[in-house]
């Protein structure tokens, strides 16, 4: 009987191992990734002829969840769900965020979720430049909020000065400090979606 075939190296395995390395060290190299997977660098290039940049695109796709269903929802509800999903995915992997923003989005799954959002916005009356601004503004707020979600509970070292306005605000953050970031995100998202409604020409 033939020996069991060793499991084939897949693109998903490679992207997943690269994401682990980024989570642990803030970056990854092709030789380091090959060592982690116990394969040769050429096995990685076989799956990713585009090398490092292509692996980062695969990570993007890996983190991208499908667009929320559009049926029966208005554009603001759709954009809200889209933003929540996106923030959740990136909050788990903050160190990958600047790698993703440093290169053009070409992963098809990710492009499809942006296209879905763009269509909902277009159908809601956003056109041309305003549509691009709306997507960019949401994107920026979501990425920053994902980093904030991954931040320590104490974002700022508390001041001893009783006159400190920041210190007073920190002390009155209210119940469930672990939800501070999420509350801020929800408020900011609401403000942006309300404001964006006025942007339509």
């Amino acid at each position: 009987m033939p020996r069991p075939v060793a499991p084939l190296l897949s693109r998903e395995q490679i992207a997943s191992a690269a994401l682990e390395l980024i989570d642990e060290t803030g970056t990854f190299t092709l030789p380091g990734l090959a060592r982690r997977l116990g394969v040769s660098a050429s096995s990685i290039y076989y799956h990713f002829p585009g090398g490092r940049e292509a692996i980062i695109e695969a990570i993007r796709g890996f983190l991208t969840t499908g667009p929320a269903p559009t049926t029966g929802t208005d554009w603001q509800t759709y954009a809200q769900e889209w933003a929540r999903e996106y923030r959740r995915a990136f909050a788990r992997h903050p160190k990958v965020v600047p790698m993703l923003t440093a290169q053009t989005v070409s992963d098809p799954r990710t492009l499809a979720t942006y296209e879905a959002l763009a269509r909902v916005l277009r159908d809601a009356g956003f056109h041309e430049e305003e549509l691009l601004h709306a997507v960019t503004i949401l994107d920026c707020f979501i990425l920053g909020s994902a980093l904030d979600a991954a931040a320590p509970l104490d974002v700022w070292a508390a001041s001893d000065d009783p006159e400190s306005a920041l210190g007073a605000a920190i002390r009155t953050v209210g119940p469930e400090p672990e939800k501070r970031s999420e509350r801020s995100f929800e408020i900011g998202l609401r403000l942006l979606l309300t404001g964006l409604a006025e942007l339509r020409t």
Copy 2:
């Protein structure tokens, strides 16, 4: 005559070299930093007994510009200037952003700029939890916008599909595509500052 004294290693030099390493590679290690500076790791610990985390705080201080003057400006103008300065500083060093958000802000200069913003907001009628949300929301938008400012001009790969809503938006981005990111930032900031005005209790 004595030989000229070799320039002493300073905290600024160490922080600056660490920032260079982050800009180049996305991260830094203490041994790597010592090699770059041509000194021993113990020389670095002499200046930074707190090690890596303390060096990251020094980088934060290094990037922090002083708060804009408050005289004669309303809170929205102040926050706008604060946000523009902050975005400009981080857009030049996108890879350091997740390192800064991963630890509590303790650099005194940076805390002073947050305190200045918090005082302006308090004097404008923001109190307690609303003040903290306002600062957090601005922070998130600024950090994401800094990453967007450092992104390639083509944020999304253009689709060939003539029906693509995103593709149509990309094609009509208008003159000076290099200013797209800045235009989106200015519009989003205005929307947030308008919305935040309503947040005051």
